[in-house]
Every structure is written in structure tokens, then in C-alpha cells.
Subunit: 391 residues, 2 copies
Amino acid sequence: MNGAELALPSIGSKKREGVSRMATTGKQLFTTLEADGTLTVALEDVAFDDPAHNQVLVRMEAAPINPSDLAILVGGADMENADYTPGKFVARMPEAANTASKARHGLKLPAGNEGAGTVIAAGESDAAQALMGQRVSCVPGNAYSQYCLADADMCLPLGAHSAEEGASAFVNPMTALGFVETARADGQNAILHTVGASNLGQMLTRICAEDGFELVNIVRKSDQVELLKGLGSEHVVNSSEDDFMDRLTDAIRATGAFYGFDPVGGGTLVDTAFRAMERVAREQMAEYSRYGSNQPKRMFIYGRLDTSPTILTPSYGFGWTLSGWLLFPFLQSIGQETMGRMRQRVRDNLTSTFASSYKSRVTLEEMLTKDAVLDYRAMRTGEKYLVTPWA
Amino acid sequence: MNGAELALPSIGSKKREGVSRMATTGKQLFTTLEADGTLTVALEDVAFDDPAHNQVLVRMEAAPINPSDLAILVGGADMENADYTPGKFVARMPEAANTASKARHGLKLPAGNEGAGTVIAAGESDAAQALMGQRVSCVPGNAYSQYCLADADMCLPLGAHSAEEGASAFVNPMTALGFVETARADGQNAILHTVGASNLGQMLTRICAEDGFELVNIVRKSDQVELLKGLGSEHVVNSSEDDFMDRLTDAIRATGAFYGFDPVGGGTLVDTAFRAMERVAREQMAEYSRYGSNQPKRMFIYGRLDTSPTILTPSYGFGWTLSGWLLFPFLQSIGQETMGRMRQRVRDNLTSTFASSYKSRVTLEEMLTKDAVLDYRAMRTGEKYLVTPWA
């Protein structure tokens, strides 16, 4: 199905003084964590406001469940023993996770960073009006919903692409492109990615292959090695192999990748990357230094697949930097021109370089069932869920 | 005693073809870690080369034992059960520490970053010749020695100051000034220091008071609070108090110190600083974000008083950066002019802003006795040792 085939509800797009169109109502998911650790995620019927100035109202057709959505959706809650009823679950958040989430206590929050659908109403700005009737990908922050209000400037018109093809057109593509932009701006010619076989990792692999940019991929299974080699990745190392540290060191030596990105966060993966980088740097030192090498080593944590603490051992001197990395602050920092170039590249290659694949499609109701929750919260590589609110 | 009073051995300063002056010999400390974990630290008689081009030969009179010297001197070795004989100890390095130190296995290394003494021979460069006969502070890397070869460009002429006054003129003063330079270059108006009452912390406090630069000092004892307040520090928080986290948050709110320096490294001190910074940042946010604040938070680890891993919890979003910070790479990055200005400030204020104090003075032999080792390796705040090789 493409945009032209979709029958749209006919709703006026402009607000006029004193005259309001009939309110658009639909189901939307909300997640609420109470101070006592009770997490309630439930669908509610919502009346959506008319789109203001540069907003559009999008009838949502598909929204992915990304790792970045899971924290607010289920976080560290005990989903095995949660209470599941149609359109709702109630779970217990363990003490530590609940305390860490204090800032959201009592807040009823939407969820779903991104998705795709069709614009059925638009604010009065030219950018908003230009999208009227078009299928777009968007970044509303409440994508687990039948309707969303979205910023027209952040919408990507999908042309003849399906909503499923466009549902993940923002977070992963812009993040993968953002890594290369970040590294280039910092004078790098190579990067390391600690989760090579993820949807994002595969995009990054295709981007780097297209651009001739050196990439070291870490994966956890041998079939993932084959997968990435098939996408043109030359340096894939398997952390399950006994000689992982040596192979990682070899790959860093071969590429000069002293710069990397990690979505795991917790545990020792970043530490391992720094140690391997330091091994290469020390090989190149003329004499021993008690302070380690001066080779700058830099890692970014861009997710928290593992919410346990990050462990950094004193094994690589003082020439290292570790930062958090987040898409939106990055996009705010790069300026319109770079962002426009990145978005154009995504649109031009939506079903090739930036294609996402999904294991399962679920409705809003189905995404709140035990089977679905336990499956998607496992965040297994290559097993992403897609929410289809009208299916 | 000042430089003018010191009787110098008369030794020719220039090398001539085919004619060599009589070799200067003296005791020097060496530290050797074998692959089996045996750490031997011993004095040896050494013949010192004539100073080449821009070198000077310094008869060392005083050298401090800084935390930065201890790693190579004793590291994680079992000093309680070491074998102590005159001018030597032999200790066991635990497995983990030994493995982490693999790069130095079998190497006989000098120790002692800095010290002061009198130039008794000089290479042929103008800079070296100009120092002939003067008392200087220097950074030879083998300061636990009766003689050292030092780079003339790194020597600071001490004029009438004693060797004790000049012994610590480099590492701590340049590091403390370096923190303020680093912060200023990054657009900051305030910094946090996690070990406020250390020798370096006291210098930093005086520098910030003189410059009107905001400083948050963390200390561990109530008498250290009084000490720093007496030096003009307005924001001193005691980590032993029950309300430490609240007071730290208050101090960060009052100063805007989202930028800090930490010599501890291991454990949760950096994490605590980031969490307090994030608390202040979140107070200023209009609405909740699952990703935390976008307020940039930056910490530098410039030492490893605690060699256990650095623990970073996922409690402050993605707007943070943690780096190692080391004096020499920093100095290499700032250029001659800035460095000259910093060194001039140190020289002009050696007995005020940059004064160091010492708990004990030990000879080279005494520094290798059990009593001394167990005392100085404890690195208690304000209990620094000074090595006086000719006393």
C-alpha cells in the first residue's frame, strides 16, 4: 500500500477563529510510574488538539519499538509477574530502578519516539500545509498512538514508500549518520561499533561501506560475523571467541579506530574497547611510560541496553575520553544544512542503506500483552517489533 | 640555606672532542617489577653522563614523593610483608596489579618526577649555560637520585629560594593552574575539586581566590573545611556529613560548577559529582525527559589514588563527558606563551600561593625503610614526604 491508495478521513486543516473542527479522538499509550514503584502502562482515549502553526496531525500507521523507547515503557520493571489486562499492564519497579526514576514519579507520559503515518490536518505554516495528505515519517514522542501531533520541520515525506518502510526513518538512520559525522568532525577516519549486528549497526556498516570509512564491528555470534561480512564489513570481531581481545586489537591496529560508539553502557564493554586501543597505542611507543600512552582514545555511550554501572579500570592511562551521546542534542549542534543533507540521504536510500526489518507486528493492544512485552524487552539483535495502531 | 651559600663541586660544563671530564657518580633509586610479581626498589651507584646540548646536570637537594610517583615506586605491592634491607626493599605485587603492569615487566625504571638542586654542569646551548651554578627546580623523572640530567627548558631558576621551597614547583603548581586554564578554555567560570584539602587542592583554592574563579571543594573531615575556609574557599562540602549530597548540590547550584577534577579515580566519587550536577540541571528543566538533562557535565580524572574501577551509574542522562587528564600532554597542548605565563606566576609566588608543606624529610636510604614506606604510601592529606639525598 502506498500513500496514494490510502483513503483519508476528510478533516479541515485550518483553525479559524471561533470555529473548531470536530475533535479527532483515538487511542494513545501512556506510562506512569508512581512513587511506590507501581508502573502502569495503558491505552486511553484521547482527543487530539488541532495542529497549531507548524504542526501536523498524523494518523499513525506504524511505529517501531526501539531500545530508546523501552526505558520509559518497561524500564527495569518485573514484567514476568506483571498484571496484564486488555490494553493495560501494571508492574512493579524494583527499588533501585524506582529511586533512579524519581524525576518521573506521578507523571503520565507518552511513549514512542518515531513512526510513520498520513497527515490529516496541518497548521497554517507553509511547511505544515505542504505536508497535507502526504505520508510522512515523524518524531512526535507519542508514536504509540492512533494520532500524533508532529513538528512539520521534523517530518520526512515518504512519497510512495509504505508506512512500514518509513517507520524507522529517523532514530536509527540519523544516529548512524551522526556517528560518522561526529567522528569526521573530530578528524577521525575510522570508528568502532560495539553492537555491529543491530539494525543500527547494519545501517552503519552499509554507510561506512558506501563512504569508504573504516569500521570495526563487534558482534556476539558467528552468524552475525557472516551477516556483516555480507554487507561489506571487513573488520568484524566476535566477542564470544577466546581470542576476541587479540582480534579486536588486530582490527584497531589495521584501521586506526581509536574512536567508538557503544549502546550497552553497563559492564566492561567500553573498558574492553579502551584496553584494546591502548594495546595498539603501546606497541607504537618508543619507551615505557607509567602513565600509559598519549594516544587519544574516545568512546561514546549512546544507549543503556545494560543499566548496570559502567566499569572503567585504570588500564589505559589518562589519554581517554568517554561521553554520553544523544541524537537530539547532536542534531541541534550541527545546523540546518548538515541535517538537511543527512535527511536527504535517508530519503533517497530508505529501502536500501536505511532499511529496517521487523520480527513482529503488533497492535497497540497486543504490545501490552505478556508474550509481546517479554519478547521485545529482550532486545535481541535483529528482532525488532513494529506497532501498527490501525491493523 | 640559599643558592649563594652552597659550595659547588667545580666541574667543567662543556664537552670537548676527545676530552671527557671525570664522570659524576652518585646514588640513584631504581624500581623493577619482574614478570613473577617481584618488585625490587633499590639504590644503585650510577655514573651520570655529561649533559648534552640543552641538558643540565643537577645535584639534587630535595624531591617530593607525590601521589603520581607512588604507582611506580610501590604500586599495589604488599609493603607490609616486604623484605627491607639497607637501601633496598623487595615486595610481592598481587596478581591483578602485576598483570595490569605487564608493560613494565623486567624494566629497571627510575622514579621521582620533580625536585630541586643546583646545576653543576651544562650542555652547550645558551639556555643550559645560563643555568650554570644556579639552584633550579626541575622535572627529570629520576629525581630520587643524587644527580639528575634535566632539560634546561623545563628548569625554573629558584634565585634565593631554598631547594625545599622549590622542590614541588612543577607538578602541583602547574596542575592546579592547568585546571583553571583547561576550564577557562572550555568557557567555564567555576570548577569542582574532589580532594580540596590536598597540597594541590590548597594551591587551587588560593589560585581561585586570587582570580575570583568559583570553586567547589569536597573534603572528608571537618578540620579540612576550616582549613579551606581560612584560605578563602566559600564552597567547601564535607563528604563525611549525612547531608553531603544536598550540600554538594547547593554548592553546584550556587557556583554553576558543572566541570570538575578528581585524583581518586576509583569508586563512585566522579559518579556522585555527576549526580549532583544533574540534580541541579533537572531543577532548571521545564519538563521531564527520559534522557536526563542536556546540561553538559564534565569531569576529569587526573590521578588514581584509588586503583579500583571507576563506577558510572546511568543516573545523569547522556550530557556528560569524563576524561583522563595528565599534566604533560596538557602542557604540550597550550603553547610556549601560556606555559611561560604559568611558570612566571609560580616563580613569583613560590612561598605563598604555591607553597608546599612536608610532614617528613628522608634520605634516599630512609625512604626505603618500612616505617617510611607504610607512612607515605597511605597518601594522607597534608602528610607529604620530602626526599633529601644529601642530608
